[in-house]
Amino acid sequence: MNETADRVLGGCRIAVLLATAAIQVGLSLARLTDTPGRLAFAALAVVLVVAAWWVLRWKPVPWPVALAGAVVVLAASTVAVWTLPTDRLFGDENWASGLAGWHLLVLLMDRPALAMAALVLQMTLAFVRQFGAELTTRGEIGSVVIVGLSVLTFQAATLALIGVVNRRAGEAAEASAERDRQAHRKALAEEREADQRNRFAGQLGATLPLLAGLADRTLDPRDDEVRRRCALAATQLRRLFAENDDVPDPLLHEVSACVDLAERRGLTVTLAVSGEPAPVPTAVRRALTAPLMTALVAARSHARVSVLRADDEIRVAAITDGEPGVTENGSGAVDVEWHALGERSWMEAKWRSRPN
C-alpha cells in the first residue's frame, strides 16, 4: 500500500479513536453504577490510551498489541454485561454492549475481516446474556435485536466505508505516481533530445557559420577558400552520419566515409588497412579522423590513406599532394603529426590504447 493510502487510513483511525473516546466519556461515564462496570470502563479506557500512542502518530496499532487489546476489550465488555443484574440489561446501565465495538474498530481497522468477526463475537456475547435473561414478550426480544443490530450495522458500515476510502486513496495515489513518472520520463527525454541536439550542433563544426555566410552572401562560392571550407564541412557531416552506424569496424567505416567524399571530389585515393579491428572510443575516433579530413580537403589530386592497427596502438595516416595542415592536438589522447617533403605532406594521428 502506498504512502497516500496510509495517510488516509491513519486519518480514519484517528477519527474513530476520537469518536470512541467521546462516546465512552460523554455517553457511558454517567451510566456507571457498579464496581465491575467501573473496572470494565477503566480497562476500555486503558486500551484506548494505549492504542492512541500509535494511532495519534498516524500508525496502525502493532499486531500483537491489537490482538491483546481486542481480547481485553471483549473480556471487559463481557464482564460489564454479564455482571449486570437482569432487570438492568435493557436500560441505560447496559452501556458496554454498544461501546466495545468501537474499541474493536480502533484496534483492528487494518484487518477488516478480523474486525468484523470480533464485532459479531462481541455482539453475540451480549445477545446471549440478554436472551438468557427472562425475556418474555416478543416486543422485548425485538427491541433488543433492533438496538444490537443497528449498532453493529453502523459499526460495520463505518468499517466498509473506511475500506472503500482507503482503496480509492490507493488508486488515486497510484494514478498520481504514474502521472509523476510520466512527467519525469518526458522531462528526461526532452533533456536527452536537447543534449543530443547540442552535441550534434557541436559536431557540426564549421557547417553552421559556413551556411550562414553563404546565405547572407558574405562568402563567395567561387572563392577557393570557401570551397575548401565547404568540402571540409561536407566531410565532417558525412563522417558524423557514419558515426552512429552499427558496423563491426566503426573506425574503418568512418575513415571510408571520409575517403568516399574525397573521391567524389575527384581525388584518387588509395586506402590501405592492416591489422584486426579493435574497439576505439567515439571521442578517439573523432580525434583520429579530424586531421584526416583536414589532410584530404587540402589534397589536390592524390592521397594515400592508411589505417594500421598493431598491438596497442592505432595509426591513421594520410600522404597527400596538398599543404600540410596545422596540428590540432586538442584531445590529448591522440598525437597528430604533420610533415612536409617536397610536394607532398604526411599526416599521422596516433592513439595508444594502453597509455604508458
Binding site: 594500421l308 595516416a317 604526411w346
Partner: protein
C-alpha cells in the same frame, strides 16, 4: 645489376585480362621479364616451359573462395620462387604465405612497379616487401611473430603509410639503401619462422652473402 640471361616467369591467374596485363607489364620492364607460360591453374607451372621459369606469379584465389595454400606449399617445397599476386586478403593469409615460403605477396591494388620489383628480386633469391605486406607485418599480433627492433617496426609502418622509400628514408634520417636492408632483415626473421622451405633457406643464405646478417644471428 647484371643478369646473365633474361628473366623468365610463369603467370597463373584465372582471369585472362589479368594474365594479359601482367604479361604486358613484365615485358615493358627494364630489364624485361619474359613470360614463358601462363594458365588459369597451377599446372602451367609444372609442365612444359613453365616448369623452367625463374619466377612463378601465383594468384591465390583460383576459381574458389579458399586460398590455394596447398599449391603454394608444393611449389615452394620444390624450390620454386613464388610471388603471390592476389586480391586483398586478410593479414593472416598474407603472413601464412610468407611462412610457406613465398618470396613476396602483392595485392592487385599494387601496380606494375611493385610487381616488376618483386619478380626481379625473387629471381635473385631475395625478398621484396611491398607496402601492403609491410602493413600486415606491422599489424602482426600473432604469438609466433619474430621480435623486431623499434627501428625495424618504424620502417615497416612508414613504408606501409607512404609507399615511398625516399619518404621513409627522409623521415627516419637514413638512406634508401638502409631502408631496403631493414626490410630484408625483417624478411629473414620471418623466413626463420615456421616450416623449412628451400626458398626460405636460399633467402637466408643470400642475406648472409649480402652481409645483411651474420651467421651468429641465426
Amino acid at each position: 645489376m647484371a643478369f646473365a640471361t633474361e628473366l623468365t616467369a610463369v603467370v597463373i591467374d584465372d582471369h585472362p585480362a589479368v594474365r594479359a596485363g601482367v604479361v604486358h607489364w613484365l615485358s615493358c620492364g627494364t630489364p624485361p621479364v619474359t613470360v614463358v607460360a601462363e594458365g588459369e591453374d597451377v599446372r602451367a607451372a609444372w609442365i612444359g616451359e613453365g616448369a623452367q621459369a625463374d619466377v612463378v606469379i601465383l594468384d591465390l584465389h583460383l576459381d574458389s573462395t579458399t586460398p590455394a595454400m596447398g599449391d603454394l606449399r608444393r611449389l615452394t617445397e620444390a624450390g620454386r620462387r613464388v610471388v603471390v599476386y592476389s586480391m586483398r586478403a586478410d593479414d593472416e593469409t598474407v603472413l601464412q604465405c610468407l611462412e610457406l615460403g613465398a618470396l613476396s605477396y602483392l595485392t592487385k591494388a599494387e601496380g606494375a612497379e611493385h610487381l616488376l620489383e618483386a619478380v626481379r628480386t625473387a629471381a635473385a633469391d631475395r625478398s621484396y616487401t611491398p607496402p601492403s605486406l609491410a602493413g600486415a607485418m606491422a599489424g602482426d599480433r600473432s604469438e609466433r611473430r619474430p621480435a623486431l627492433s623499434a627501428r625495424e617496426t618504424e620502417v615497416l609502418i612508414e613504408w606501409f603509410q607512404s609507399e615511398s622509400k625516399d619518404f621513409v628514408a627522409h623521415r627516419l634520417g637514413i638512406s634508401p639503401n638502409t631502408v631496403n636492408s631493414h626490410l630484408e632483415r625483417i624478411r629473414v626473421k620471418y623466413a626463420q619462422m615456421g616450416r623449412e622451405a628451400p626458398t626460405k633457406a636460399a633467402l637466408v643464405a643470400r642475406a648472409i652473402q649480402d652481409g645483411l646478417i651474420g651467421v651468429s644471428d641465426l
